[in-house]
Amino acid sequence: MKRVFAALAAALLCASGGAAGSLPGVDQALVESDAMPPKLSAFGLFRGNDPKVPAAGIGYTLRAPLFSDYTDKHRFVSIPVGKKAKVAADGTIEFPMGTVLVKSFGWPDVNEGRPVETRLLIHRASGWVALPYIWDADGKDATLALGGRRVPVTFQSPDGATHSIRYAVPNKNQCKECHSLNGQIVPIGPKARNFILDLAASDKLRALYFANPEALKPVMPQWDDPKAGSVETRARAYLDVNCAHCHNPAGSASNSGLFLRWTDDPAGVNYGIGKRPTAAGRGSGGMEFAIAPGDPAHSFLIYRLESTEPGIAMPEVGRSTVHKEGAALLRQWIAEMPKASH
């Protein structure tokens, strides 16, 4: 699949002769307008409007992805021909205007593996815009769902358990709740520390899209690979991606004082260790600390992660199932902390 992605993209770019302007198929004028077309096909982001076949662009994965009810996510980025993304000194990736980050969500055992929804994050003159599209029943196109929707699905998680949930496609505002930095929309996942460009992509293709592809050095370990890093570093990678998009001083949870970025001091009270609840309400579960070192059973960070009840569950949006494997990693991390530190 990945190989097809890259090969196809390369072929298409060759075919277009590298001419400046819009990518083959992509309606770049529409991308860069203020329009919110009711049908996804209008953008021309997919070949034959098949969600598995990008019209152009380059695929990517993340060392630690945001958990979204065990969905498989297929990601690619469409960057206008002649423009390039650049990795900044602090590891953020600066995508040029006209970039579209495309992320399709689905399960292998739902809709015969076709995605349920595709979310676009479009870099326009007015800033980044988030648009959620839900695939129609016939799978031929997807329809804008600004107000979000609950889609009933039944799927199996990797441990074999069957889940029947009302999967929440976020509304436009909820997209922003997670993708917010100082009130402006920004991408979450694509940071150099987490970002892996399609491994099948040639150096030439990488250089076509990135001014400095060599700067894409993911320092975070693969969160679910014990060989990739210690429990602590993998837990911190998990927290960075699953929590820190809100839990940072400029994010939606800034007022909580709980900051969980990869770059935050993991020994500090603002990382949750010995931190009392601020506005947690019943999210505290009757516990005194977000993280009680050595005692995951009395750490309400775990309690909130293992709940699916609104008002308790964290993250507040985008999750209707418990991520057992993620919670297990964080439990182990807290259990291994020396108790004496608080």
Binding site: N255, G257, V269, R276, P277, P310, G311, S320
Partner: protein, 405 residues
């Protein structure tokens, strides 16, 4: 901004003015409670509204499964009333989101509707400057329960906040909670059967007046907590409120700071400076009408100031108080003092001036690190010092006051 799918919604969204003009003339977007997919249609209306628009909620009960949010500046969300027959947003079947309604844009007016039985907070606004909450009801209709949401009305990280004529009941933390904000007025509102009726936390410049705080665990709280982005709470005036019968047993989930509020507390000041409590009517607060304390928990925040300082208590009317003090050791102290303790309780930390002609009990614990078990309760006279200059009244931008005239 163009939107191609409009005809699709014509049945439910009645657009009463031209849409195409940019900037558009202010329009009213009406949404009906009985439309199929009312939740989605209302959310779409809140997304498609342009600055200046009003989203009009139809009368009736809205059965909502997901939290609503508004991120467009200068929008009014208006219902047909907060009482019976009005616009009732019922979240009893809520499946997601941390609150019923979240506002993240400036210059928003919320008025004339009710938000019931949310799983988390009722209405939250974050980074929403000049927000006006007016004639709203936020209620957990089964009354006090630990499973109720934390905050009823919850503005945070905002400058210029007006909460006027709201009714909040049943919050398992604070009914009206203003956190990490500046320039705040809470007035003419009723908070009942919450753990904390009204709470001003880690905030600067607030007037809390002409409210009724009754049957809560604690009536009105002025707090400052450590390890938060904004701290050093100061300049808060609590005046002309009725604070009575705050007798509801504390039902906050343990761990939260308000879980430590003793049942029967009128006004509680913790670790703030320049707080004035005057011209209030207190009655039937079993622990104390006014309590002034330091933050006595362990913390690791070198910048945090745990002491209450320059607290002034004057001109209040004191009814019955102190007859059932619910802090550790309170019963014994009351017994030793002939059945009740004085209406004003101070832990002995920081400094306060009390000009009311009633008794003050000090626990004589000036160091917040001293355990409360080492209290040496004794009457104190706090009438001697010179009060700091009176705080000025809070003035909100005219645009805000105009919205509630």
């Amino acid at each position: 901004m163009r939107f191609h799918g409009l005809s699709h919604h014509a049945a439910t969204l009645c657009i009463v003015a031209a849409l195409a003009a940019q900037p558009a003339a202010a329009k009213v977007i009406s949404v009906s409670a009985t439309t199929p997919d009312a939740n989605e249609k209302l959310q779409e209306a809140l997304i498609l509204a342009q600055p200046g628009d009003t989203v009009q909620l139809g009368a009736g009960t809205w059965t909502l499964t997901d939290g609503l949010s508004l991120d467009v500046a200068n929008v009014t969300l208006r219902g047909a009333g907060a009482g019976e027959g009005g616009s009732i947003l019922d979240f009893a079947g809520q499946q997601g989101a941390g609150e019923g309604l979240l506002v993240t844009s400036d210059d928003v007016l919320l008025t004339e509707f009710a938000v019931l039985n949310t799983k988390g907070d009722g209405i939250k606004s974050k980074g929403a400057d000049r927000i006006v909450y007016h004639k709203l009801r936020v209620e957990w209709t089964a009354g006090p329960k630990a499973t109720n949401g934390a905050y009823g009305i919850y503005p945070v990280e905002s400058t210029d906040v007006l909460i006027d004529s709201v009714y909040v009941r049943g919050a398992s933390d604070a009914g009206i909670y203003v956190g990490q904000s500046k320039n705040i007025v809470v007035r003419d509102s009723v908070a009942t059967e919450n753990v904390a009726g009204i709470e001003i936390e880690n905030s600067y410049d607030a007037d809390v007046h002409d409210n009724v705080a009754t049957k809560n665990t604690g009536g009105i709280l002025v707090f400052d907590l450590p390890s938060l982005p904004m701290q050093g709470g100061h300049n808060v005036r609590v005046f002309e409120n009725v604070v009575n019968d705050n007798s509801t047993p504390n039902f906050a989930p343990k761990g939260n700071i308000v879980a430590s509020v003793p049942t029967g507390t009128g006004v509680l000041v913790m670790a703030n400076r320049n707080v004035e409590i005057f011209d209030n009517v207190f009655d039937n607060n079993g622990t104390a009408n006014v309590m002034i304390v330091g933050y006595r928990y362990e913390h690791k925040d070198p910048k945090y100031q745990p002491l209450p300082r320059a607290i002034v208590v004057r001109g209040n009317q004191h009814g019955k108080a102190g007859y059932a003090p619910k802090f550790p050791g309170g019963d014994q102290i009351a017994a030793a003092m002939g059945g009740s303790i004085p209406p004003i309780l101070w832990d002995g930390a920081g400094d306060a001036i009390v000009l009311d002609k009633v008794g003050v009990l000090s626990l004589n614990l000036p160091d917040v690190k001293t355990p409360q078990g080492e209290a040496k309760p004794a009457p104190a006279d706090l009438s001697k010092g010179t009060p700091p200059a009176a705080l000025p009244a809070i003035k909100l931008p005219e645009s805000m006051e105009a919205k509630v005239k």
